[in-house]
């Protein structure tokens, strides 16, 4: 099953990863407005899901999605995002790979589900903000402010936020995937390009 990658596959991976990343970046820029920041895990997959579906339709081999996730992880890391992004990216990549494989890289349904599982990598970027940050920050506060104050702080950033984010990623990914499938049908099938 492990087939050697052809140049065409690798170039497809590179170009579509660039497109995916650029759209993610463009949407994430809106995230600098604090209210949108919270909805980033919902918005990014909706927009980025459209080209992602075209990418999935070009995938014929095992491993291409995983490479995309590794590349995104490295890129996030060299631009200064903290390390947990690695775990989440590669995890989401492998999960998506499995989903696509069960659809034999052809089924539209598994592509849509794949779009939603792939979006989970975004948690890697956010988890550091909300949790890695919280634990370490609160620990460091214990010395200065005392346990009581820290307990109060923990209440402000509750754990359910994390699950809300997972839900947003999955829902956003599904919407993006469905939109992408619609665009594929409307434009690319007609032109014989997908």
């Amino acid at each position: 099953m492990e087939k050697k990658f052809e140049i065409k596959d690798l170039i497809t991976v590179g170009i579509f990863t660039a497109l995916y990343f650029a759209i993610t970046f463009a949407v994430a820029c809106i995230g600098f407005i604090p209210i949108f920041m919270v909805f980033m895990p919902l918005l990014v997959p909706i927009f980025a899901g459209i080209p992602l579906m075209l990418y999935f339709s070009k995938i014929k081999h095992f491993g291409m999605v995983t490479i995309t996730s590794v590349i995104i992880a490295v890129l996030m890391f060299i631009t200064g995002h903290p390390y947990p992004v690695f775990i989440f990216c590669i995890g989401a990549g492998l999960l998506t790979e499995t989903v696509l494989k069960t659809g034999h890289y052809q089924s539209i349904k598994s592509c849509v589900i794949g779009s939603s599982t792939f979006s989970l990598w975004l948690l890697g970027m956010l988890i550091a903000f909300f949790f890695g940050f919280r634990e370490a920050y609160l620990n460091s506060l214990v010395d200065g402010y005392g346990q009581e104050y820290v307990d109060k702080m923990t209440g402000y950033t509750p754990t359910w936020v994390f699950f809300a984010m997972i839900a947003m990623c999955i829902i956003g990914g599904l919407i993006g995937g469905l939109l992408g499938a619609k665009v594929l049908k409307k434009h690319f099938r007609k032109a014989g390009m997908a």
Binding site: K8, H187, A191, G192
Partner: protein, 486 residues
């Protein structure tokens, strides 16, 4: 030596309904190219000349799939049975589109790329690059960002990359289609140099004038077969009426000059005032304090790359908001923002300006008049489409159309927008004679409809076929503005 023995090839593709179809390309080709020979392949679009180049560099069958018969041999070795990686040592390739043939962002890396792939010693590659740069006089292009270069400079970088590995055979697929006359001269110098080194050169081209002295043999293809073979002496003897009969572009570059009669513009005038604009890099721009153009004529804007032709077109169209110039049309003075409502541009790459899922929708998208009902819009759209011979494609997606049909779709939506000024940016780059004539007919039709047509072009043959007036730009200034002398 390259030998084709009874080669037939058909591409496999999928049509709009997802069925597999075969597109015939070449059939029963027998051809022998000697070492050191300079062969020109020409003929209308889709005649199979690109396919011949792909058979030589091994992209067929290693990249493009299809049904293949017969043998292709280089020095007795079969190309289809050799990995592309090995063929690349012997055959260098230059492609049409400078945008998509580069793998690197840095020019020096790109020149070194082919040699790096063959695992040459880094020190030797660097030496070869220095030598190539000196002989081609491109030192100032080294270690630059490729995206800052002009189309001509990009094509020269592609040629420099070939020089470093120095293969015996070089195939070029329409290398001149995006170049201006100055860049074509540079390309010609490179080709002359290669020929003197004894390299075998196979070039597929529509524009032929720069190959006149270089070609040893010219093959005219039609429907995948060689219909005519010309020797060097015969090529040099070709007159304009000969090439016209053969259906190919002329072997000489027609000169363009001003007519000295009727210098004054008759009829309505398009007045450009205060068109001064500089790009943020501070180098390129235009500086035209006043320019009078005849309305309802076809006006060609000519000049070298970087003279500001496209900048002027963009400014007339109103795409540069910082431009403070005004255009006076029918007594109305239009600022940049207003000009967007009056000018329509057909861009060089029309793919960028087509958005919807069918040709009819594309035309209807341009009808912004809210008083029209949908039925009226459809009726009007179908009228325009029949005028441009597109009615049978009304429900087709634009991506399934040919280049010329896409361009006509863009023209159709320009007509639908009922804007009085229509601007074309290099409409004939890379077109064969028949298609070029088709475009010039479209322009004449637009003129008959009462539109003012402005064409940015460096295609002299095209200018002579339809334009009435020329504006020559030099360093951003209008150096000449006169009716075209016939």
């Amino acid at each position: 030596m390259i030998a084709f023995k009874n080669v037939t090839f058909a591409y496999s593709a999928t049509d709009a309904d997802g069925r597999a179809v075969e597109q015939g390309s070449i059939s029963g080709l027998d051809l022998t190219i000697q070492n050191g020979e300079f062969v020109v392949l020409t003929g209308g679009s889709g005649c199979g000349k690109t396919t011949v180049t792909r058979l030589i560099n091994g992209l067929i069958p290693h990249y493009y799939n299809g049904n293949r018969n017969g043998e292709v041999l280089i020095d007795g070795e079969s190309v289809p049975d050799t990995p592309v990686f090995e063929t690349a040592k012997k055959v260098g390739s230059v492609f049409q589109n400078p945008l998509s043939q580069f793998f690197n962002v840095n020019t020096t890396d790109e020149i070194a790329f082919a040699a790096e792939n063959q695992c040459c010693e880094p020190a030797e590659i660097s030496k070869a690059i220095t030598e190539t740069a000196a002989s081609m006089q491109i030192e100032k292009l080294l270690d630059r960002n490729i995206f800052e270069l002009s189309g001509g400079e990009k094509q020269i970088i592609a040629c420099a990359g070939i020089n470093v590995l120095s293969p015996d055979i070089i195939v070029l697929d329409e290398p001149s289609s995006n170049l201006d006359s100055e860049a074509i001269e540079k390309l010609k110098a490179v080709l002359t140099d290669w020929k003197s080194q004894g390299k075998t050169i196979v070039i597929a081209e529509h524009r032929l004038y720069f190959l006149r002295e270089l070609a040893d043999r010219m093959l005219i293809l039609e429907n995948g077969r060689i219909t005519k073979e010309l020797t060097a002496a015969e090529i040099k003897a070709l007159t304009i009426s000969d090439t016209e009969k053969l259906g190919i572009r002329p072997m000489m570059r027609p000169e363009i000059h001003c007519s000295h009669q009727n210098k004054d513009i008759q009829g309505d005038v398009l007045l450009l005032e205060d068109f001064c604009f500089t790009y943020k890099d501070g180098k390129h721009g235009i500086n035209i304090p006043r320019l009078e153009l005849p309305a309802n004529r076809i006006i060609a804007i000519i000049g070298h790359n970087g003279a500001g032709k496209s900048t002027l077109a963009r400014n007339i169209c109103g795409l540069e908001r910082r431009c403070r110039g005004t255009l006076t049309l029918n007594g109305k003075k239009l600022k940049a923002k207003d000009r967007l409502h009056h000018c329509y541009m057909i861009m060089q790459d029309v793919n960028h300006q087509l958005f919807t899922e069918s040709v009819r929708d594309e035309v209807m998208l341009s009808m912004t008049d809210k008083s029209l009902t949908d039925e009226q819009k459809i009726k009007r759209a179908d009228e325009i489409l029949s005028q441009l011979d597109l009615i049978e494609y009304a429900d087709t997606h634009h991506m399934a159309l040919s280049g010329g049909q896409k361009q006509r779709t863009a023209i159709a939506s320009g007509i639908a927008s009922s804007k009085p000024v229509i601007i074309f940016d290099e409409p004939t780059s890379g077109l064969d004679l028949a298609h070029m004539k088709q475009v010039s007919d479209q322009l004449k039709k637009l003129k008959d409809m009462g539109k003012t047509v402005i064409v940015v072009t460096h295609d002299h043959e095209f200018i002579l076929s339809c334009c009435d007036h020329i504006v020559r730009l030099e360093n951003g200034c209008a150096a000449e503005n006169c009716p075209l002398g016939k």
